[in-house]
C-alpha cells in the first residue's frame, strides 16, 4: 500500500498540529481533569505518529527517486520589500528518516509519562504544585502503608510535552532555516519549562535558567548565521541554498577570519548546535538538566532537542562542505571535527566517575553527540545520520529505563520511609535484575547498543561506520580519539549495569524495589526492538559474511538527500577489529572492576577532578557569570546609569539653580532692585525731603520765587542766547 503524493504533502503540514492543539486544549480547558489531559496528549502523539508513519513508511520509503522529488510545499509568510519570504514543509530522505524515529520516540515517551507521573495513584498527603510527589498514605487490610502519589501538575506536564513535540515536528518538517529555528527555540522554551517543572526545587529552577541561557548563547550565533546566510543568498529555503550555483558563490566569497562565507556561516550555525547538543564548551547545562522528570530527560536528550542540534548540522552539511575539495579539511570542518572528537572523549571521562544513574547517561549523551559531530566534521554524512537515529532509539530506551529504575527505587524508599536514600544513586542499588526483570533486560539491550556490542546491536553498526569512515579517510587523530571514547563508553556502561542490576541489593530500598506498570515497560520493550533491529538497515555491503544479506538500505536512502550520493567507506579490518576490541574490552573491564564493589569507598575512580566535571561549572561561574553580574549591577547600573549619566543630569538641576540664584543674588537684587528700583525712589525721596522746605503754602513767596526765576532765566537767556 502506498499513499498518494498529494495526501503525503497535506499530511506533512498536519503532522506538527495535533501536539500543539493538545497543548492549547489542556492549558485552556482540561487543566483540571487528569484523564482528559493525558488522553488528549497521548491521542495527539498517536495522531502525529500515524501521520508520520503514513508519510514515511507508506510514502517516502517506497517512492522511487525520492531524493530528487521530495515532499515539498510552501506558502507566503513574510513580505520583505518587493518579495515574499516563503515557509513550507519539506520531507526528503533525511527528513523522512528523522521523522520516523522522532515520531516513534515521542509516542513512546508520551505513553511512558502516564505511568511515570503515577496516573491512577491517590493524591499525595503533602504534595503541592512545583515539587515532586512525596507519596500518599493509604489504609489497606487494616494497616497503613505509603504508596506513590500522582504528580500534582499532571495535566501541565502533558501540555508541555505537547508543545515540545510540536517544536520537534516543526523542526523536522521545515523546508527552511527560519521555521526550523522556530521549532528549535520552542523546544528551548519547553526544555526550560520542563527542566524547571518542579520549580519549587531551587536546583531545578537554577538548572532551567542555566539550560536556557547556555543554549541561547549558541542560538544567538545561530541567528546571526541565519541572518548572514539570508543576507548573502536572499533565501533560507534549504533546497534553494543547496543548489550548486549558490553554494559555489558562497564558497568562493571571502568573509572574515580567513574563512569563506560558507565556512563562516556554517561555523555560526554550528555554534548553535554546540549549545543545543551540549558540546564542549557549552556542555554544562545538560547534566544539570537532569533535574527534570525522567521522561523529560529522555525527550530532551535522546529524541528531540539534542538530536535537533546534530540534525541541524546534518541539514547544513552541503553548506559545511561547500568549500571542501576532498583534500584536507577546511577550517570550519576541522573545528567541527575537533569539538566533536574532543567532546566525545572528554564527556566519557566524566561519565566514568558519576554516581547518579541519570547523570551517567547525560554525559554519555554528550559523548555520543560528539561522535556524530566528529563524523560530520570529517565529512561522514550518512554515518552521522545513522548514528543519530540509532542513538536516539537506544538512548531514549536507556533514559526511560533509568526512569523506571528510579521509579522502582522510589517505591522502595516509600516502603522503608527513609527519605535520606537517594533513589538515583547507583551505589544504593544493586541486584535489581530480579526485582525489575523487564527493565533489566531492556536496559541491558540499550546499554549494549550504546557500548557497540558487536553484530546484534544497532549501536555497533552505526559506531563502526563512523570509525571506518575516519579510518578510511585517514583522519587518524579523530579515529584514535573516538576509539578511546568508545572504550570508555563500554566501560562506564558496564559499570552502570553492574552497579544497578547485578550483584546483591546494597540497601533495604533496593530490596523493596518494584517493577513498574505496563505504561512504562511497553515503551521499553518497543524501543529495545529498535535498539537492535534498526542497525540491520545499515550493514555495510562488504562486511564479512553478513554484508549483502540485507542491502545497505540506509546509506542508499539517506545518501540521496545530497546532490552527489557519498560513497560508503571501503571495508577494512582495522576499524572493525578496533571497535570489537574496545566494545568487548570495555564491557569486560567494567564488569570485572565493579562486580565486587560494595560501596562508594571501594570505587577507585572517584577522582575529584572527574567527579567535579573538570571544574567547568566553577570556572564558568568565575569567568563569565560573576563578571556578568558585576558588569550589569555595578558597572552598567550603578556606575554608568546611576553614577555617570544620572550624575550628569543631576548636575543640571543644581547648576540651573545656582545660575538662577546667582542672577538673583548678584544682579536682580542688588542691581535691578536696589540700584535702579529702590535707588531711583530713594533719590527722589531725598530730593523731595530737601525741597519740601520751599513749599511753604504762602502764595506770595511762590510768586516771589517765580519772579526771581523769571529774572534769572531772562538774564541767562539774554547773555547766552541774545548776546
Amino acid at each position: 500500500m502506498m499513499i498518494h503524493e498529494e495526501t503525503a504533502r497535506l499530511l506533512t503540514w498536519l503532522i506538527p498540529l495535533p501536539p500543539v492543539l493538545a497543548f492549547a486544549l489542556i492549558v485552556l480547558f482540561t487543566n483540571r481533569s487528569k484523564w482528559l489531559s493525558h488522553t488528549i496528549g497521548v491521542g495527539a502523539a498517536i495522531l502525529s505518529f500515524i501521520g508520520s508513519m503514513l508519510v514515511t513508511v507508506f510514502y517516502a520509503f517506497r517512492v522511487e527517486h525520492f531524493g530528487e522529488h521530495p515532499i515539498e510545499s510552501a506558502i507566503n509568510w513574510l513580505p520583505t520589500g518587493n518579495t515574499w519570504f516563503r515557509i513550507g514543509v519539506l520531507i526528503d530522505p533525511l527528513g523522512a528518516a528523522v521523522l520516523f524515529f522522532v515520531s516513534i520516540t515521542i509516542f513512546m515517551i508520551f505513553l511512558y509519562s502516564v505511568g511515570y507521573q503515577n496516573y491512577g495513584q491517590p493524591a499525595g498527603d503533602h504534595d503541592r504544585a512545583g515539587l515532586p510527589p512525596h507519596g500518599a498514605t493509604i489504609e489497606e487490610h487494616g494497616h497503613k502503608h505509603v504508596v506513590p502519589s500522582v504528580e500534582p501538575m499532571y495535566s501541565r506536564f502533558f501540555a508541555f510535552l505537547g508543545l515540545f513535540a510540536f517544536g520537534m515536528y516543526v523542526l523536522v518538517v521545515s523546508d527552511n532555516l527560519l521555521t526550523m529555528f522556530v521549532g528549535w527555540e520552542i523546544m528551548g522554551l519547553c526544555s526550560y519549562l520542563l527542566i524547571g517543572f518542579w520549580y519549587g526545587k531551587p536546583s531545578a529552577r537554577n538548572a532551567a535558567v542555566k539550560a536556557f541561557m547556555t543554549t541561547r548563547i549558541g542560538d544567538v550565533f545561530m541567528l546571526l548565521g541565519i541572518a548572514f546566510l539570508y543576507s548573502a543568498t536572499g533565501t533560507l529555503t534549504f533546497r534553494e541554498i543547496f543548489t550548486e550555483e549558490t553554494l559555489h558563490v558562497l564558497a568562493s566569497t571571502p568573509a572574515a577570519f580567513g574563512m569563506t562565507a560558507s565556512g563562516l556561516i556554517a561555523l555560526l550555525l554550528f555554534i548553535g548546535t554546540v549549545g543545543k547538543s551540549a558540546q564542549w564548551p557549552l556542555h554544562v547545562w545538560l547534566p544539570d538538566a537532569m533535574e527534570g522528570p525522567t521522561p523529560v530527560s529522555a525527550m530532551i536528550h535522546a529524541a528531540t532537542m539534542v538530536s535537533a542540534g546534530v540534525y541541524a548540522v546534518i541539514r547544513m552539511f552541503p553548506l559545511l562542505t561547500a568549500d571542501f575539495t576532498g583534500h584536507g579539511l577546511t577550517t570550519t570542518m576541522s573545528i567541527v571535527a575537533f569539538i566533536g572528537a574532543f567532546t566525545a572523549l572528554f564527556a566519557a571521562t566524566i561519565a566514568v566517575a558519576q554516581n547518579d544513574i541519570k547523570r551517567v547517561l547525560a554525559y554519555s549523551t554528550i559523548s555520543q553527540l560528539g561522535y556524530m559531530i566528529a563524523a560530520l566534521g570529517i565529512g561522514a554524512y550518512v554515518a552521522a545520520a545513522f548514528h543519530l537515529i540509532t542513538h536516539a532509539f537506544f538512548k531514549a530506551l536507556l533514559f526511560l529505563g533509568s526512569g523506571s529504575v528510579i521509579h522502582g527505587m522510589e517505591h522502595g524508599v516509600l516502603h522503608t520511609g527513609n527519605h535520606n536514600v537517594d533513589p538515583q544513586d547507583m551505589f544504593n542499588m544493586g541486584g535489581l535484575r530480579k526485582k525489575m526483570p523487564v527493565t533489566f533486560w531492556t536496559f541491558l539491550i540499550g546499554g549494549f547498543a550504546l557500548s557497540g556490542f558487536p553484530l546484534i546491536t544497532a549501536g555497533f553498526w552505526s559506531k563502526d561506520e563512523i570509525l571506518a569512515d575516519a579510518f578510511g579517510h585517514g583522519h587518524w587523530a579523530v579515529f584514535v580519539t573516538l576509539a578511546a571514547a568508545a572504550f570508555l563508553t563500554a566501560f562506564y556502561t558496564m559499570r552502570q549495569i553492574t552497579l544497578t542490576f547485578l550483584g546483591e541489593p546494597r540497601t533495604k530500598e533496593a530490596e523493596h524495589a518494584q517493577e513498574t506498570p505496563w505504561t512504562m515497560t511497553t515503551p521499553l520493550v518497543v524501543l529495545s526492538v529498535f535498539a537492535i533491529a534498526y542497525g540491520w538497515v545499515g550493514i555495510p555491503e562488504h562486511f564479512p559474511v553478513l554484508g549483502g544479506l540485507v542491502p545497505n538500505w540506509f546509506h542508499d536512502f539517506v545518501g540521496h538527500t545530497l546532490a552527489e550520493v557519498p560513497d560508503a567507506p571501503e571495508f577494512s579490518w582495522i576499524p572493525l577489529l578496533t571497535s570489537l576490541v574496545v566494545a568487548l574490552g570495555g564491557l569486560a573491564l567494567g564488569w570485572l572492576v565493579y562486580r565486587n564493589v560494595k560501596s562508594v569507598s571501594d570505587d577507585r575512580l572517584q577522582i575529584p577532578l572527574l567527579k567535579n566535571k573538570y571544574y567547568f561549572d566553577e570556572a564558568y561561574d568565575f569567568l563569565f557569570v560573576k563578571p556578568a553580574y558585576w558588569f550589569a549591577e555595578t558597572f552598567v547600573y550603578k556606575w554608568m546609569d546611576k553614577g555617570l549619566i544620572d550624575g550628569i543630569l543631576h548636575i543640571f538641576g543644581p547648576t540651573t539653580g545656582g545660575i538662577g540664584s546667582a542672577i538673583r543674588n548678584y544682579f536682580d537684587l542688588p542691581v535691578i532692585n536696589r540700584f535702579f528700583g529702590d535707588g531711583s525712589a530713594d533719590v527722589t525721596y531725598w530730593f523731595g525731603g530737601k525741597l519740601r522746605a520751599i513749599q511753604t503754602g504762602r502764595v506770595q513767596q511762590y510768586l516771589m520765587l517765580a519772579l526771581v526765576t523769571f529774572i534769572v532765566i531772562g538774564v541767562a537767556l539774554y547773555f547766552f542766547v541774545l548776546a
Partner: protein, 102 residues
Amino acid sequence: MVPLSWYLIFAAALFSIGLFGVLSRRNAIAILLGVELMLNSVNINLAAFWRYGNVMDMTGQVFAIIVFAVAAAEVAVGLALVISVYRRRNTVVADEIDMMKW
C-alpha cells in the same frame, strides 16, 4: 505826538507797582488790587501798540477788552474766595492762609 516809549515806560512802572503790591501786601484784597494794576498795565501796552501799529487792525483793542472781561471775572472769583476763607478762618492775611504747604 508822544513817542511810544513813554507809554511803555508808564505801563512798566504801573506793572512794577502792581507787582510790588502783590508781593508785599499782607491783605489778600490788596493783593487782588495789585493784580488789577498789573492787568491794566498790560492793557495800556496793548492800546499803545495798537495805536502805533496798523490802526486798521483791531486785534489790540479786542485783546484789551478780553482782558477787561477776564480781570472782572478774576476779581469776582478772587473776592469770593477771600470771603469764603475769611468766613472759615476769620482772616484775610495771606501768610496765614498756608493750608497748601507740603
